[in-house]
Each structure stands twice: as C-alpha cells, then as structure tokens.
Symmetry: C2
C-alpha cells in the first residue's frame, strides 16, 4: 500500500500499521456503537515526524485523525478514513522547573504521569479529567479537559502556557508564551479545545501550582434534584468558593451502591447535614464504570446548563430515557452546571444503541431549551457536530469555519469532528 | 463630507464629529509624541449601530479604529485615517446576577464602575489595570488588560464568559458562553487581546468572585535589583502564592518620594524584613504619574521576561536610557516578569522623543535576548507592531494574518495595529 510505504519512510516501518489495529478505530464511545475506519495507524516519534506525516497527507488530501489516549466520549478520535496519527511515542518529560512552577512534556505523556511528576517536584497540576491513567496531556489540551476541580481551578487551558503544534499545512507553530504575554493573538487558547481540527499538538508547556492540600470532601443527601440543586445554588450565593461542587442523582447513587434521592459532593465548602468521607473520591471515580456496568454499556453525555436550570435537566434526563425504554441517570459538576446524563444499554443490541442515540438528541434539545450547551466537557467530536449550527448560531459556525480554513486550509485535520462536513470538504 | 453625512444616517448627526476632536486622535502615548488622523469620530449607541458603521466602512474599505477610554500605552486606538468608533455611549449595566456571580455590561462602562457595581452587589471583579476611572471594559477585553493582581487572579480573559462583537464584515458575533462550554472554538479568547483588529466588542458578560478581603500589602527593601528579584523568586520557590508581587527600582522609588535600591510590594506573601503599609496602594497607583512628572512626559514600556532574568532587564533599562541621554526607571509585576520600563522626557522636545523611541527599540532587543516578550500588558498596538515577526516568528505571524483575514477579510479593523501592514493592506 502506498500510504504505508510512504509514511514508513517518515516514521520508520515499525511505526506504521496498515491496516490499523482495532483499538485505533474507536474511543470510549465504543460502548455507544461508534467505530471508524482508516488506512493506517502512524506513530511518529518527534514533532518533525508529525510535521512530515501531516505534510504528506496535506499534499494528497488524506484525512488525519490525531489520537491521544483514546478516552474521549464524543468520538473526536474516531477516524473516517485516512491516517490515524497516534501521539503516544511523544512521551518524554522534557523539563521540570520546580522553582518557577513549570513543566514541559510531550503530548503523549499521560495526565496521571503529569500529576505524579508534578507531585514529586512539590507541585500540583490541578486538572483532573477522568481516565487520567490513559488520557494524554495532548488530548487534554485538544479538548480543554476539565473535571471536578475545574470549578475551583479552571480547566486545562488555564494551566497551559505554550504548545508546539503542527498546522494542517505541515508547518510547525511554536506557541510558547510567558505566563503573561499579550503580543500574539491567543492562538494557544484557540488550539485548546479545538479537538484536533486546527493543529496536532506535539508538546505542552504547563504552569503548575505549589503542592495542594485539599480539604476532605463532604457528602450531603437531599430528597430530590430540586432540593439538591437549590442547596448548590445557595453555596455560591452565600459567597462560598468550593473547589468542587459535584452532584449525583438517584440513579447514579444506586448504581454506585448508595441510596438517596440526590447528593452533593463538595470540597472546600460547608453544606448543612454533610458528612466527611475519606474514600469518597475513589468511590466518585468509579461512578462512570458502575453506571456502565448496569447493562454493559452506556451513552454518556455532558450537556451543561445554568445552575438554576440543572434540576430540570436532571429530572428530564430520566424522563427522556423512560420514553425510549432506557434506564437513565446523571451525575456531574453542579457548580459548572455540567451533567453527565447517561443512557444505559447493552451495546450488542443495535436497537438499544439506536434508541440511546435518539434519547441523546432529545437531551440536546432539552439542554438548548434550558439555555445550555451541547458540551461542557467532552467536546462536539463526531457525535454532536451535526448540531453545532443550531446550538452556536450561524455566525459563530461561519467564523469557526473561517478560522479552520485559516489554519487547516485543506481541511485534512479531523474532518467531520467539531464542525459538520460542509464547504471545507467540497474544496479540491 | 460624505463620511459624516452617511454615518449620521446610522448613528444620528449629533453623534458624528467631522473633523474629530483632538482627544480622539491619541491615547496615553501622547506623552511619547504619537498622534493620528481621522476623517470623523462616530459614537454609536447600540450594537446594531456599531454593525451599521462597520458595514458602511467595509463596503468602502474605510479603516475603523475602535476607541474605549483612550488610556492605552501602545497606540492601539491612535487612528491612521478613516473613522474613530468610540464605544462610550454603550455604557449600560445590562444585568447583575449576584447569586450566580455574573454581570453583563456595555463595552463603554468604565473599569472602575464595573468594580463598584460588583462591590455594591457583594461581588469582586479582580482585574485592576491602571487608569480604571477612564478605561472601559471593552478596551480591557480588547487588550486582555492586567494589573498587579493578575499574578493571583489572572487577567481580564479569565473573567469574561461572553462578548457581543461586530466582525470586520459588519456581522454580529454573539459569543456568550456558560462558565464551561467547549462546543465552539475559543473565539471569545481569540477576541480578548486582539486589540480591535478582529472585531469591535460591544457587550461583555463577566463572571465575578464573591467579595474579596485582601491581606494588607507589605513593602520590603533591597540593596539592588539582583537581591530583590532573588527574594521574589524565593517567594515562589517556597510555594507561597501571593496575589500581588510587584517591584519598583531605585528610580521609580525616588520619583515617588522614597529612597531605596529596589523594593517588592506583596499581597498575600511573607517577605523577610517587610513592613505593612496601609496607604501603599494609593502610593503605588501614583507611580506612573510621579515618573512622568519628572520631565513632563515618559515613554513607558511593558516588556516581560522570565523572573530569573528580570534583574538584568531592570539594570539594562537604566543603562539603555543613559546611552541615549535619558533618565530611565522601571517598576512592574515581578511575579509575572513584567517591567514597565520608562524613559523620562520632555514631550515638547522632538529630539528627546526620538531618543526615547530609539531607547525603547533597544529595550525590546534586550527583552527578546532575555527570552521575553515585547508586551506583557499593553499589547503591540501601533508602537510595536513592526517587531511582531521578529518577536513571534514567521509561522505565528502568518497564522495571525490568516486568522485576521478570516474575521476581518477586508482588513479595515485597526490596520497597522498588532500586525504590521502587509499583504492584508494590499488587497482591494
């Protein structure tokens, strides 16, 4: 095959797999039935090799799907033909400067390793997305990943002061910055959360914090979503500034072996009737798996709404599931209004998968009707791109297309992700 | 004049001044001799009128210079022909939601008023740029303005969750977002700090904090810049997290009536030998004026370097001034490595102004040689755009030009600011 032979010359034959292995064709949406196709998996070992692969693809109009840990929940690294470009070999911790709270790492370093290396140097990397042992920092930047502590510490973007990235032309962009630098446009911020559609991130410069001693988390139970969300809103209205203010609904609690109508999990806030619980974080981290284990799979979303409308979203999620014959539950980050609504399913049953996707569309309808967004955490990926224009408005999507055309003029980077296929794909 | 008559139909005759008044042709760089020219000053009263003005200019290729409070220090609102578009009539506080820490304001609301309205509602708007009584929030967003508290609280960008803005085509972009929303590209972040070259910001949605009770500031004196900068670095290396870590060199101290080789001003940090000082903030706020008063004017810069190189920058600033026969001093934000190097001058003496500009060029050379940036706070504006490519590299400037062409295809928004005049201006 020409693709494999040509790219072998760029990265070495042992780093090209054609056809690609099955794991390179899906991400964590596999539970919801999403699988793609590609001609080859390529594993470059340096920024220069990434640039070489992208330039080769640009010359031939071959789509490139950048791939980090493959833990995404929106199908953002599910390929639709072309080449899967895995960043896992860029796994070097390049530099650590403990006294100035900085670290430089390759895009393929896992999130958990970033946090460990930071801790070994007396520092703290605040973002705490799920699947930290598998997810890679490059993917975290590409999705501007968040997690429970985003409320208090911001998402990945806040901690990135520079990236090295390869644009859709194969050109290398060195967007390193000081902590404060207002000379350039914020291209760095533009790449954060662009889901691999504007550039392939190859190296990340992080600003960290000194070691962090979290307050012990507390857990408080409420009769229902309305009471619990009102309590969450009261925490903020009182001027408390929690580092975490998460929630779990009745179904999520039941999946994880606890009974109750609704619960708040807070760090750095006082909640009436709350109890401290040392193992609550380990328990909380297991929720997604516990929910998936109910039927063997789940379609998990991440819509977000203003906190004042969160209870309606939580109750509505269960109702939508019921209408489609699926058990549903939700948990998430109340302080940021983010709900991981999940429809439980048996992924081997095509009808259930189909019903779950229909339910998800109704969940998107509900979130938008409540003044919310399609995605507070996962991105639009391949699963939600078709609703971008409805959610964001035509002028925003037109501006996004123009920016995409500026940095990826041939439209080869992750086509069909984030932006629906449109004029870009019709170009020669 | 056709410009005035046509635009009078858009905004009303009483809101068009042709020729424009003198104050509309300069910003705070007037002290350094920068004055522009324009055909008219236009003062639209709504986003729709702003869109009407920009659309009229786009059709005719007339340059538009958006103008906030005119407090900029890089010539970012000094017009080079065309129309000055002042946002001062968009001065409405549209909405305040104290319980969810949010506020929506017109672009023309002053920074001081944002802070006052926040305080009246039990909230705090952290950014504290200078000239807060005159500067406007739209200009703060357009320059991603910072100040002493940026070290602890981030610059303006961190507190903006949405803008309404008019692109170079006259189209209105409604980039409102929830606190967490990863559906769109970060167009919002892209507009922050774009210095009016990508869009005219007309409305700003802010996320605030609960009321803030600052620790009293402390002041510590050192023999010289080397000792003081070492003390600042030690604060961070010890894991202290100051909200403010500012510095003043000997010349700045002398201008402000204090003697000493070098001083650190900190909030939220312990410094050996420091003394608390209740009136230190008022004194600190007067520094820029006190320095300017020495000779009647100053050319004030805002280069930034890694903290480890700050002492070299501070000493080098005085040496550069001496070589050009100008007294020089510096003060700024040590924690962020930002130095306001100022060359004192008599603005009525053209030779002094010329020597100051030559000195500034050498200061830029020094900052870049120390691994720094041309601008940590003020932006590139019209004064520093000519060095953008050298400072940022050709690929970054090419990407900036492509992004500019995407949002302002005719190149009418603030041409010559941020990006040097180039291919964009050659377009029809």
């Amino acid at each position: 095959v020409s693709v494999a032979a040509d790219l072998a010359r760029v990265v070495g034959a042992e780093h090209v797999l054609a056809p690609p292995p099955a794991w390179a064709l899906h991400d964590a949406t596999e539970w919801a039935g999403l699988r793609g196709s590609a001609e080859a998996l390529v594993r470059p070992g340096s920024t220069e090799e990434v640039a070489g692969v992208v330039a080769w693809c640009a010359e031939r109009g071959v789509p490139v799907t950048p791939r980090g840990g493959g833990t995404g929940l929106a199908g953002g690294c599910v390929p639709d033909g072309g080449v899967v470009l895995a960043l896992d070999r860029l796994d070097r911790v390049v530099e650590v400067e403990p006294e100035s709270w900085r670290m430089v790492v390759g895009a393929g370093v896992t999130t958990a390793r970033v946090r460990r290396v930071a801790a070994e140097n007396g520092l703290h990397f605040p973002p705490d997305p799920g699947a930290a042992e598998s997810s890679q920092i490059g993917g975290n930047v590409a999705t501007n990943a968040g997690g429970p502590h985003t409320l208090g510490f911001g998402a990945t973007r806040r901690w990135v002061v520079g990236v090295e990235a390869v644009l859709g032309t194969g050109e290398v962009l060195d967007a390193r910055r000081l902590h404060r630098d207002v000379a350039p446009y914020d291209l760095l911020g533009l790449l954060c959360g662009s889901e691999g559609t504007l550039a392939v991130i190859t190296e990340v410069h992080l600003r960290l914090l000194p070691a962090y001693s979290p307050e012990p988390p507390v857990l408080a139970f409420y009769d229902d979503a309305e009471a619990g969300c009102a309590a969450a809103a009261a925490v903020l209205a009182e001027g408390q500034q929690p580092a975490v203010l998460d929630f779990l609904d009745a179904g999520a609690l039941a999946s994880a072996g606890r009974s109750g109508g609704f619960a708040l999990l807070a760090e750095g806030a006082e909640l009436e009737g709350a109890v401290a619980s040392d193992d609550v974080w380990r328990w909380r981290e297991g929720i997604a798996h516990a929910v998936a284990a109910q039927r063997g799979g789940k379609l998990s979303e991440d819509v977000a709404v203003p906190l004042a409308r969160l209870a309606e979203l939580v109750d509505g999620t269960v109702e939508i599931g019921a209408r489609h014959g699926l058990e549903a539950c939700s948990w998430g980050h109340a302080g940021d209004g983010i709900s991981h609504g999940a429809f439980m399913l048996d992924a081997s049953d095509a009808r259930q998968v189909q019903r779950a996707h229909a339910a998800a569309e109704e969940l998107f309808d509900l979130a938008l009707a409540l003044g919310g967004t399609l995605s507070g955490e996962h991105g639009l990926g391949r699963l939600k791109a078709h609703r971008a224009e409805e959610a964001l408005g035509a002028p925003t999507v037109a501006a996004m297309r123009a920016v995409k055309a500026a940095l990826d003029p041939l439209g080869i980077l992750n086509p069909g992700v984030k932006l629906p296929r449109g004029p870009l794909r019709d170009r020669p």
